[in-house]
């Protein structure tokens, strides 16, 4: 799993970033000439993203598997809206 800082995707709207961090939306690296990432919403809508998280036009109605997702991506930085802290020491 690829772990990056959320600021890497500076063009991604804050709310989308938070849904990726929450694990509601999915983010993957992708081998694509115009995109670095593929984002999947909770409803299965698929979006191609640039290196900076900007939206790239992609095929409408595409599903995730047709995009050949590579690594799943998660963020290393904490959410500003944490409800509980869990000690795993």
């Amino acid at each position: 799993m690829k772990i990056i800082h959320s600021e890497t995707l500076q063009s991604l709207p804050r709310e989308v970033t938070e849904l990726v961090r929450d694990g509601v939306y999915s983010l993957y690296t992708v081998d694509h000439p115009d995109a670095a990432f593929v984002l999947v919403t909770d409803r299965g809508a698929v979006y191609l993203l640039t290196n900076a998280g900007g939206l790239e036009p992609g095929p409408e109605g595409a599903d995730l598997k047709s995009m050949n997702p590579k690594e799943a991506v998660a963020f290393s930085d904490a959410s500003p809206y944490v409800s509980a802290r869990v000690n795993v020491a």
Binding site: M1, S79, A84, V88
Partner: protein, 284 residues
């Protein structure tokens, strides 16, 4: 008495969900099991996620099957005395998964009881509407404890932050923050270092239930004041975004966050347990 040892119990996870947060709940639970010395041969995962390997394999979770294989895999699994089956992911008022073709409680229980050598089972239902698994036959051999995170209501997930990231198989830091099922997290966090919650001199499945129920309700209660303010801000953000002509992509995200905050704000969760006399005999 039924002691839970590192080798006599099969730990099974079932998740109907396409959202990675439900796979993260399983990754956390498996990390807790490994802390107790439970080996990977004792862990099976069943999901309907389209790409589970991209999430789970990085954490060394390899025994991953589609939910459609649940009955066949469990009935031919290596013999175990005790099966602990945890339901993560989404639940509905008729079972797990799609309402058009759900996994019904009776079918899941039959599959659990089919594991070779089984003497008892524990079913941990942490998903929404877990109460539809209640009031079923618990005393037919093999006897079964059922623990529900909530009754006939949605279950609670909240934003959590671990004190340190879970490690990936290659030793690199992995996930540390997500929207976690707080009852499931409470249960497995207790399992990392089991304690005698009720002071009866024994560390049993009842203590796990009491810890998970009380800790998750306390977390939800504490979260609600923040959720109220957060929901107000999201409602305002949504209005501004609409007026400024934001893309549907952005509007959908704000609206979803608002709906999730409101849902948690008004959510009531109360844990339940079926077959307490058996749960009292399951020792850690």
């Amino acid at each position: 008495m039924h002691p839970v040892t590192a080798t006599n119990t099969l730990w099974v996870f079932v998740s109907c969900s396409h959202e990675p947060r439900h796979l993260y709940d399983i990754i956390f639970a498996v990390d807790c099991l490994r802390c107790r010395g439970i080996g990977d041969a004792q862990i099976l995962v069943f999901v309907d996620h389209p790409t589970p390997g991209q999430h789970l394999h990085a954490y060394g979770i390899e025994a991953v099957f589609p939910i459609s294989a649940l009955g066949a895999v469990l009935s031919t699994a290596r013999a175990h005395e005790h099966v602990v089956l945890t339901v993560a992911g989404h639940g509905s008022i008729v079972g797990l998964g799609m309402e058009s073709a759900p996994v019904r409680p009776a079918a899941l229980i039959r599959a659990t009881r089919s594991v070779p050598g089984i003497k008892l089972a524990t079913l941990l239902v942490t998903q929404c509407f877990g109460g539809i698994f209640n009031l079923l036959d618990a005393s037919t051999k093999p006897e079964m404890v059922t623990i529900g995170a909530t009754n006939l209501n949605p279950s609670a997930s909240l934003g959590i932050q671990l004190s340190k990231p879970l490690l990936q198989r290659d030793g690199s830091p992995g996930i540390a923050s997500w929207s976690a099922n707080i009852f499931m997290m409470g249960f497995f966090a207790w399992l990392r270092a089991p304690t005698d919650v009720d002071g009866d001199g024994a560390v049993t499945m009842l203590d796990a239930y009491k810890h998970a129920g009380a800790s998750s309700n306390e977390q939800l209660r504490q979260a609600k004041s923040g959720l109220f303010l957060h929901a107000r801000k999201l409602a305002s953000d949504l209005e501004v975004a609409r007026e400024s002509g934001a893309l549907p992509f952005t509007l959908d995200a704000i609206e979803l966050k608002l709906n999730r905050a409101l849902s948690s704000l008004h959510l009531h969760q109360e844990a339940w347990l079926l077959h307490a006399s058996l749960a009292r005999r399951i020792h850690f």
